[in-house]
């Protein structure tokens, strides 16, 4: 086994990807630092210029997803361009975005009440090569509509993020990757005290084209993804409080 070198395996993988019809991101596409998540993707590169779907069942999950998408969009914006955040009702709090490496004034927020208009605007935005990232919050999107978005992306190579929040089961759509982000317990920054630390997420990649789905528990600290270190074990919060007073 050891006779087969790493290079050979890499070469064979590349060939397989070509046979599977994988279109690599253009060479000038930004390399998104995604830490341990890179294992899931072909060539260990985050697929830009694709449609990413994010599922959220609760408002808490939607907030965590918003943070996760912001880190990706922030890295995409590092190369210039603009991001568009399309929503029916804007919940994003601009001062909160800075923690994820994106300054709010680089984003154009669109508030669109009408569902049909929202999909139209999303499609138009995805056609516009001057835009780096399109973030659309809509649960109500069918398979056909997602194909349209996919087609628009194929021409423009814009990266699209669809945030679908719904407490019920949603119909499947065409996307390059399907994610589910939920909040995870954070690590206290001060050992021995029970404090809220850096954002931590359970990241579930349910489906990815030409890649391997997976599950990670990661922490967003100092501007990059890091595995959550084993938390210092402390008494559960209420008991401790009762003791002290």
């Amino acid at each position: 086994m050891s006779a087969v070198s790493n290079d050979t395996i890499q070469r064979l993988r590349q060939e397989l990807l070509l046979i599977e019809g994988y279109k690599a991101p253009e060479s000038d596409a930004p390399d998104i630092p995604i830490g341990p998540l890179a294992d899931a993707f072909p060539n260990r590169r985050f697929p830009t210029g694709k449609l990413h779907e994010f599922l959220a069942g609760t408002v808490q999950q939607a907030a965590a997803t918003g943070g996760f998408i912001s880190t990706l969009a922030g890295a995409l914006l590092g190369q210039g361009g603009e991001a568009i955040w399309i929503a029916k009702k804007r919940r994003v709090f601009p001062p909160g975005l800075g923690a994820f490496g994106i300054s709010a004034h680089r984003i154009i927020f669109c508030d669109i009440r009408n569902e049909k208009h929202l999909l139209w605007v999303t499609e138009e935005a995805l056609r516009c090569t001057g835009i780096s990232a399109v973030i659309a919050e809509t649960a109500d999107i069918g398979y056909t509509a997602s194909l349209r978005l996919q087609l628009a992306i194929d021409e423009s190579r814009v990266t699209g993020f669809l945030l679908r929040q719904s407490s019920t089961q949603l119909p499947p759509i065409a996307s390059a990757a399907r994610w589910r982000i939920s909040p995870a317990r954070s690590r206290s920054p001060i050992p021995g005290l029970i404090r809220v630390g850096c954002p931590c997420w359970t990241i579930e990649l349910e489906k990815v084209r030409n890649g391997r789905p997976g599950l990670w528990q990661l922490e967003w600290r100092a501007g990059r993804f890091q595995p959550i270190e084993p938390a210092t074990v402390a008494l559960p919060y209420p008991e401790r409080r009762r003791k002290t007073g």
């Binding site: 408002v59 808490q60 939607a62 907030a63 965590a64 918003g66 943070g67 996760f68 912001s70 210039g80 361009g81 603009e82 919940r91 994003v92 709090f93 601009p94 001062p95 909160g96 975005l97 800075g98 923690a99 994820f100 300054s103 709010a104 004034h105 680089r106 984003i107 154009i108 927020f109 669109c110 508030d111 669109i112 009408n114 208009h117 605007v121 138009e124 935005a125 516009c128 090569t129 001057g130 835009i131 939920s182 909040p183 995870a184 317990r185 954070s186 206290s188 029970i194 404090r195 809220v196 954002p199 931590c200 997420w201 359970t202 967003w220 559960p236 919060y237 209420p238 409080r241 007073g245």
Partner: protein
């Protein structure tokens, strides 16, 4: 101001002439209009026949009666301003810039207009004959400046068409009343014995302003052409307007689109040549039955791209009801801006243009401006800590505060009920929308005081709490425990 020419028109008996137009029987009669001021009847306008008997404007009516016992007195207070405006509108065929010169004159910028009539003499004759035919007694003069034309109209016998540059030789011989000065200054000049403009010119310039105020020098410079005088045209010029009449009434969407394309080609070509771009475009479709259908399109940056503008209109062309047909299309650009060709590269190039065009298309589709960019605002209160601006102002030097802030904010905050040890410990659990969340970790409190100059809500103590699943919340207690009102708890946001 080389090359400019102005025409001044003076209606010597504006109001009375107008009255005679309506009542030809009064033509050679002596009549006056009288108004009541401070319990005195004052002559406001007097007819030429009355003037020849010595009656003049401003005279007390009883004095006028002494001079001419059977003078006809007419009631009412005619408004010369309105009448002048009406007349001025009719003169728009002679020049686009016609300004009212109260109380009894018009000032017209005729630069580049006279040659269409075959020279200034023919132009002058045409205008004066037209006014005389209308029954008004008139004097008019053409000169290099509006001020000089005004002076020559009222104070120079001849020539009334002063050749370019020669106004400087005639002006000094005229009395100071030719300078459009206020009565107080005229009175002072008279008492100093300055009966001609040349007497004023003999004085050192620096002494004039302290002695007579700014007005004298300003009027003098305007008359001689040393400073620019701006006329306020009665019809604001709409320079960018194109018409497309149709031989056969148009009833199809394809036809409308073709007409629009043709109009855009003409208008945008012109805008581009003049280094301008449009911000608003207005398409009017005049139907056979007299109704006008119209569409507007707005852009967030000046543009003269035909394809882009066509796209903005395209989606709404089907909303035009052609009825029996459209016989005339007009396209107007009411709002334009300078857009030098080099601007696009300065402003971030192709990308910025593309995004601006994309935003315009959204506005055209949804019918309202739905996008904004967020900039930090100088407020601590979370709801007021950002402000939205139009996306065209992208670069900002302001930085966002580094305090931890949630990614989602509930506005208004959602009320919750909590179990919390007093005085200022974080809650142990809270109930939000009938779900109980147990607090597993907490940061805080952080107090945010309200700005008393904005409103008087109570101060808030914020806690960042994490529940057992790891979801992070931003909750606050409004007010102090010691207050008469009980403290209330709210959920204000969610951290990622």
């Amino acid at each position: 101001m080389p090359g400019r020419r102005y025409l001044s028109i003076w209606f010597r008996h504006l109001i009375t002439d107008q009255h005679i137009r309506h009542q030809p029987a009064h033509k050679n009669e002596a009549f006056v209009f009288a108004t009541r001021e401070k319990n005195l009847d004052i002559v406001s306008f007097a007819s030429p026949a009355a003037v020849s008997h010595g009656i003049h404007t401003g005279m007390v009516l009883s004095d006028a009666r002494l001079l001419l016992p059977d003078v006809r007195i007419l009631p009412g207070n005619p408004d010369p301003g309105r009448l002048l405006r009406q007349i001025a509108l009719r003169f728009n065929r002679y020049s686009p810039i016609v300004a009212v010169d109260p109380p009894d004159g018009l000032l017209i910028d005729i630069t580049g207009c006279a040659h269409l009539w075959g020279g200034e003499a023919a132009y002058y004759t045409d205008i004066v004959t037209r006014i005389l035919d209308g029954g008004y007694d008139v004097r008019a003069a053409i000169a290099d400046t509006a001020g000089a034309a005004w002076a020559f109209t009222r104070h120079l016998k001849r020539p009334l068409i002063v050749p370019p540059g020669e106004h400087k030789t005639y002006l000094p011989t005229l009395p100071p009343t030719a300078l459009r000065l206020s009565t107080a200054i005229l009175e002072r000049l008279r008492s100093l014995g300055m009966s001609r403009i040349r007497h004023i010119l003999d004085q050192p310039r620096t002494t004039l302003t302290p002695r007579f105020g700014k007005e004298l020098l300003q009027r003098l410079d305007q008359a001689f052409g040393e400073t620019e005088e701006y006329l306020l045209p009665v019809v604001p010029p709409v320079p960018y307007r194109e018409r497309l009449p149709c031989l056969e009434p148009v009833v199809t969407a394809g036809g409308i689109e073709y007409a629009l394309t043709r109009l855009l080609e003409i208008l945008c070509g012109r805008l581009e040549q003049e280094g301008k771009g449009l911000r608003t475009a207005l398409l009017q479709c005049h139907r056979v039955d007299g109704k006008v259908m119209q569409l507007t399109a707005g852009t967030i940056r000046a543009t003269c791209s035909i394809t882009h503008l066509l796209k903005l209109f395209e989606t709404r062309i089907p909303t035009i009801e052609p009825g029996l047909g459209i016989e005339l299309f007009t396209l107007e650009a009411p709002v334009t801006e300078d857009a030098p060709p080099g601007q696009e590269s300065l402003w971030g190039g192709h990308r910025a243009v593309e995004i601006a065009e994309f935003l315009d298309r959204i506005t055209a589709k949804t019918g309202s401006v739905v996008f904004s960019r967020m900039l930090p605002a100088q407020h601590h209160w979370p709801e007021r800590s950002f402000r939205s601006v139009l996306p065209d102002q992208s670069e900002s030097n302001e930085t966002w505060p580094a305090d931890p802030r949630p990614i989602h904010l509930f506005d208004p905050p959602e009320p919750i009920s909590v179990t919390a040890p007093i005085p200022d410990y974080p809650p142990m659990s809270f109930r939000y929308r009938n779900t109980l969340y147990k607090v597993a970790a907490a940061n805080g409190p952080t107090r945010i005081e309200n700005e008393w100059w904005v409103d008087t809500a109570r101060p808030r103590d914020y806690y960042t709490v994490e529940d057992e699943q790891g979801a992070r919340y931003w909750i606050f207690r409004s007010g102090h425990y010691e207050d008469e009102q009980p403290a209330r708890w709210y959920l204000h946001g969610l951290f990622a």
